[in-house]
Symmetry: C2
């Protein structure tokens, strides 16, 4: 039996596995985590809206229903294209076909002081760390007597005006306003600051101008300070430095201004494109290696003269395609080149407010928000997770209450030494 190895169980790897399940091939899924993570909702874990468990789904719970598919919890250390095998700690895994779907990590563009001091949102524990930091800052502010330090503790700088930055900024502003100001009577006199920093002259660069303006207006009305045409140049634990020399006293810096491919890409010896992406053939295979497919954020492919973006919808379609293309190749059938069908994109800003493009039309406000909710529930895996998320959202929508404001970091109460 021919063996397909799939590296990474994100949106791309998962769709590839689904396309290949029960088709007479051996499929081995590899990931360093034992769960599929629904990354688009990480910011809601970070803002105390969702339990971390509700956006993660154990891979073996899926795989046990898929004929011929196995999972192995393993870091992948390298790819040996010549011998068609992967190295994992203490072992090798041979493949007949390979799907690389290892995704991306945060790109700090070499700014070490930012990397050291900033929070980001790519993994489940990042979201929990960020939640601990936000809630912990309020606790520290509550017992701080120095007004300047108190102000810095309650200043949250978010860098990057893409969907993640916008969604986190909106959710954080609402957490502050609807929940935490009620929790901390001792902080009534101080309004927490949420500052959104974007290098370009607009938010949500990939969206139509109309929706960019809506987003900017909405965030401002929610109390978010938006700084356009602004770059961060460095950071310290209690300060953020801007390119123009401005210093913002802030204990929390969140970075969502860029991604780059997972380090595994280094073991593919081809010249990379921007963000380290691996150029692929029109059928997503690696040049000279028709048995190797690269999908999702890892893959660089142009369509109509523009590179496909590093987003979930591209990864899903590419993963599905790669699975089907492998089957076709295995059965010696022809298969047309990959083509991404853009159904649109969306971002939520706050309660009853989102922006969306779908099939060339623009939507904003309540309708876009409802569609956002529906689609996220739809793509979330598992009935239980959907129910849990729906419950949490309803709970928050009706009661303005976010229950998961737990600080799980040790030592927040100080040390007696």
């Amino acid at each position: 039996m021919k063996r397909v190895v799939i590296v990474g169980v994100g949106f791309g790897g998962l769709r590839a596995a689904m396309a290949l399940a029960g088709k007479g091939m051996e499929v081995v899924l590899l990931d360093r985590q034992n769960y599929h993570l629904f990354q688009p909702l990480l910011y809601q874990v970070a803002t105390a809206s969702l339990e971390q468990e509700s956006i993660a789904y154990p891979i073996r719970a899926m795989v046990r229903r898929w004929e011929g598919v196995n999972f192995r919890l393993a870091e992948v250390c390298g790819v040996d294209l010549e011998n068609r095998r992967l190295s994992i700690p203490g072992d090798f895994i041979e493949y007949d076909y390979l799907v690389l779907a290892a995704g991306s990590i945060t790109n700090f563009f070499g700014m070490e002081s930012v990397e050291r001091n900033a929070y980001d949102l790519k993994k489940l524990d990042h979201a929990v760390d960020l939640r601990n930091q936000v809630l912990g800052s309020f606790e520290r502010a509550a017992r701080e007597s120095d007004p300047a330090r108190r102000r810095a503790l309650l200043t949250f700088v978010i860098v990057g005006g893409g969907p993640t930055g916008v969604e986190f900024a909106g959710a954080l502003a609402e957490l502050d306003r609807f929940v935490l100001t009620k929790d901390y009577p001792e902080l009534q006199a101080i309004a927490p600051r949420v500052i959104l920093v974007e290098a370009m002259d607009r938010l949500l660069a990939a969206f139509p101008a109309e929706l960019q303006e809506y987003t900017l207006e909405k965030l401002k009305r929610m109390g978010v300070e938006v700084m356009l045409n602004t770059r961060v140049s460095g950071a310290e634990p209690e300060r953020v430095f801007l390119h123009d020399g401005t210093v913002i006293p802030a204990h929390t810096l969140f970075w969502s201004a860029g991604v780059r491919v997972a380090p595994l890409a280094d073991s593919i010896p081809v010249p990379k494109k921007s963000a380290g992406r691996i150029p692929v053939e029109p059928d997503l295979s690696l040049a000279g290696h028709p048995e190797v497919f690269v999908v999702g954020d890892l893959a660089y492919l142009e369509q109509d003269g523009k590179p496909l973006p590093m987003v979930a919808s591209v990864a899903m379609q590419e993963g599905d395609y790669a699975g089907k293309a492998i089957l076709a190749r295995y059965l010696d059938k022809q298969f047309p080149p990959f083509r991404f069908h853009d159904k649109g994109s969306m971002a939520t800003i706050g309660r009853s407010a989102a922006v969306a493009t779908a099939y060339g039309k623009n939507y904003s406000g309540f309708l876009a928000w409802l569609v956002w909710l529906g689609l996220h529930l739809y793509y979330l895996i598992g009935f239980r997770n959907r129910l849990l998320v729906l419950l949490n959202w309803s709970y928050y929508y009706i009661l303005y209450e976010r229950q998961i404001r737990l600080i799980t970091r040790e030592g927040e109460g100080g040390s007696c030494e």
Copy 2:
């Protein structure tokens, strides 16, 4: 306004605060965590049944509805009885009345090798650590080629035949049998071992003999190996040593064979009772300090010639009493001495199986199990948490599925170095 300071927001501290809320006194709650933890369900977090968030409730969410009550996230370093103040990191808090409700920690009875290698269940992160360990052991076993090591990875030794040990053993045996054996087709040939070690000649020592026997029989039928009259003498990462010289190769050791009071008790200069408990007057106050009350696991009080046990129901009644006694003292009223009303105790063993005593009668099986479910839901704080737990339990009961089998510990996929 007179100030009451309550140390610890467990079952005892919480009830004291509830009794004092809105009564014209200033109440300050102190805890090192920002949430009330429902400890009796920790073992269900450890066995992938419940989200950690569903058994924790943010204290400020309660306190903001309670007039005159404030919360401060702080470690308490010491009590200065003479000057009526507590030291916390970098500060002091003065009190007119004090309620000490700091609870207990695990007692390893000085066995350092056990303390180093064993898991216990007193805090939220303990439960997550234990879940990671159980699930991680299955993953490591799945990729282990040496049969002896594989067997040791799938051997779980539980020490202590009290409610926590029994409940964890039962839940773990069911997790293995109903969930994990389906998740790991590569481990079909090996039955995981759950070993329950108890020093006495019976389980659940505080229960009537009839229920002890029921529990023993039920656990055995569920595949748990119960070793009575057996003591653990030491441990290594992959081995557990028994007093009689037996060595059990096992990578997971869980310790629930004893508790002792929180270290804060050291700052109360009185001779302690067993487990380090602080002897109190019939009204739960400290001899010579009528303004200081000690409740819950911390307090030692005999009733009808026997010490009250270190259990949640005692802590709740004592906390409530202390709150009311402080009010009475403040209003210069007489107040009768504390008396514990034993409504019974219970432990669950598995699906549809529990034991309970209530008002002198014994119950076992399905009925006891239903009562167990109902009472735990009732005592759990917050509508949302109750709903979540009920959903999870229903889900498991109907589908034999425990969804939260996520390994959140880093590095489980091995290291490439």
